[in-house]
Amino acid sequence: MRKFTIKPNWSVVLLGVSLATLAGIAVQAYQADRRHRDTALALLRDYASFAVFNYNQNLAGGLRSAADAALHSFGPVPRGGAFDAATLARVSSPSHADCNCRMSNAVGGGNYLYSVANDSLIAGSQPRPSAANDLIAAVLRKAPRLPNASEPVLQRVDANRWLTYRTISRSPNDTILYAVWFDQSHLQPVFKQAFCPEVLLPPTLARGLPLDSIVTVAVYAQGDATPLWSSRSELEWHQPAEDTLGAYYAALVVRASIRKEAAPSLIIGGLPRSRLPQLFALFMISAGLVLAAAKQIRRERGLVRMRERFVTSVSHELRTPLAQIRLFLETLRLGRAGTNAEREWALSHIERESTRLSHLVENVLHVSRPRTTAPAAAPVVELEAELADIVAGFLPLARSRRAHVVNSFEPGVLAAIRSEHLRQIMLNLLDNAVKYGPVGQTIKVSAKTNLDRVQISVSDQGPGVPTADRDRIWDAFQRGTSEEALATGGTGIGLTIARELTRQYGGSVQLGATDGGATFIVELPRIRVGPRGENHSRTAVQAS
């Protein structure tokens, strides 16, 4: 029964703690970096707000002056709004020749007097009735009645026309609005004039840079996405600030932002760049290092376990033949084997187990020796004779599990390989076949040619190699994971040795496909002998 216990691995725990600490530091660094950046951006927004505030002051003053000038065409406003005939005539005159104000000269513009009580125009520039008069009356009807009567009010009529008016109380029951309307183009100079570099940002903040290169300002009508005016043709908002002029100025919206290119000049040390990529890269590198270290530790632990397993397996594999040798030797020494046949039987066991032991020792020595390159010169051997000899030597071991070995060797097949290596390869494959096959099975060993290759195969009648184990059986110290494999003794090096040795001769060993049992196929380069016995393909063997 196998018990699983969790052993604390302090190295891995420390690595985990260091990784967690590193993650914490990375998060803190990221947060500090972000705070720094937020502060810098907030500063840019503050600069933009400052510019908006100043622009608004300028613009409000400019609009007030312009409206005053426009309304000046009415002349002095009579007390109580009692406009005399002359004023009314002047108001009604479409030419406004006597008016020198800017706005009232607007194309299509005109002057109007509107009585709130009568809800009608008293006088207007256009002949009555006219569409323009109706429009103006409709606008004035809805125009806000603001508390400060002396303050001119700016009101938008439509997409291109604006209206400015002032209110005056004519009687307790009536209020007169006197208004001037004008084209939108007449607002442009006012917007532009308000964009005064010296005032928007003081020189100490602007650091001597031209205002155009620092700040972008645009004026919008309420609810419009297209600006009425902007300081630049291409608008790009970066940390913008916004403010609205009062109701007297049609609630115009002013938006400003510091240009991205100017930000480094305005902020000491420049606008901090995001360090996230560097932090992320640093974290990933560190995490990679920690993972690599953890993997290394795991690999080392695996190697230790593998070594322990190997030592245990070898110890078990050595003890089993030794136990038999000692048992039969003692049987003989104590005179317990009475007859010659019994003595012969005991001796045959000793001989066989000695063979098994030497084969095992040979395998272990092979594994412990440094890896060698291909042999300098491999003698050509005739496989039929060599294999028959190897199988004959193996028969006593096969008999221990009552296995029968059937040979089928094509005559005259040659291969370049040292006999002891061929023997080691074959003994490993035969030993596996006996171990993993059932008692009393038949093991088939064959050798044949296939074009320029020689194929030697060993088939058993066992359960075969499970699909999951087909790759790992070739790795050193690895054994099958099936119950049968685990219950069967073995060191886990036999197939590794067989593969290494065949590769030294330019060959391969692989697991073949069979209906039942396992078939291992060794392939070696074929040696052809010419009519006079010369070797034609020897060079190919050595090259490999």
Binding site: M1, T312, S315, H316, R319, T320, L322, A323, Q324, I325, R326, L327, F328, E330, T331, L334, R336, E342, A346, H349, R352, E353, S400, R401, R402, V439, E483, E484, A487, T488, G489
Partner: protein
């Protein structure tokens, strides 16, 4: 003739050991895998089992555990190439009697085999004699219990518990020892289980179960059986 069951998957080694045991006038049966070994242990009722640990189909530890859990107390000699301390401890946890590592001395193995067979024989002799205390008569070989000549029905575990107390011949048995002997090593069973079965024995076998005269509690230790 004593019967020895040898469960060993290495046929040659098994043949060698079997040959030598037969020379000792012992009847030997060889099984090459754990499952067949377990069946043989139950059906053939050997006097000694020689058990390898690495076995196909059913491992040696599992075999031993299953054997002990069913109350089989046949002496077991572990014969294995495994020489790790953990394996030895595991074996003795499952009440193996001897642990011999390969390669082994033939003379030593035979001596151990004979020792275990002798001990088993003594225990069987003890079990064969009827045992009585108070009004109760127990025949371990027939697994029968009579009180005033009337057959008393006990649960299998209660009978095993009674047998364990009888085997001690008046000596004190701790609750843990009784647990291990009767229930094996199953973690779900508590020492309280022993108390419950002792109560059953007293109820059925004592004249006054509240003041028992024969199945006596030894304070803070366990129980003993006094005649």
């Amino acid at each position: 003739m004593s019967r020895v069951l040898l469960i060993e998957d290495n046929a040659d080694l098994a043949a060698g050991i079997s040959y030598n045991l037969q020379k000792e006038k012992l009847e030997v049966r060889v099984e090459e895998d754990g499952l067949s070994g377990l069946h043989a242990a139950r059906d053939w009722r050997p006097h000694l089992i020689i058990l390898d640990l690495m076995l196909p189909r059913l491992g040696g530890f599992e075999l031993l555990q299953q054997l002990r859990e069913t109350g089989d107390r046949t002496p077991v000699l572990i014969l294995t190439a495994k020489d790790q301390e953990a394996d030895k401890i595991q074996s003795f946890r499952y009440d193996a009697d001897q642990y011999v590592t390969k390669p082994f001395s033939l003379k030593e193995l035979l001596a151990r085999v004979h020792s275990l067979l002798r001990r088993g024989q003594a225990q069987r002799a003890l079990a064969a004699e009827p045992f009585s205390f108070g009004e109760v008569e127990v025949d371990l070989s027939l697994r029968s219990v009579r009180r005033r000549g009337v057959l008393v029905t006990l649960t299998p575990k209660a009978f095993e518990l009674l047998s364990a107390l009888i085997r001690r011949d008046g000596a004190v048995a701790s609750r843990v020892d009784l647990l291990r002997e009767v229930w094996g090593h199953r973690s779900l069973v508590l020492t309280r289980t022993v108390d419950a079965h002792v109560a059953e024995l007293r109820r059925k076998l004592e004249c006054d179960p509240a003041n028992p005269n024969h199945i006596v509690t030894v304070w803070k230790v366990g129980y003993r059986l006094q005649r």
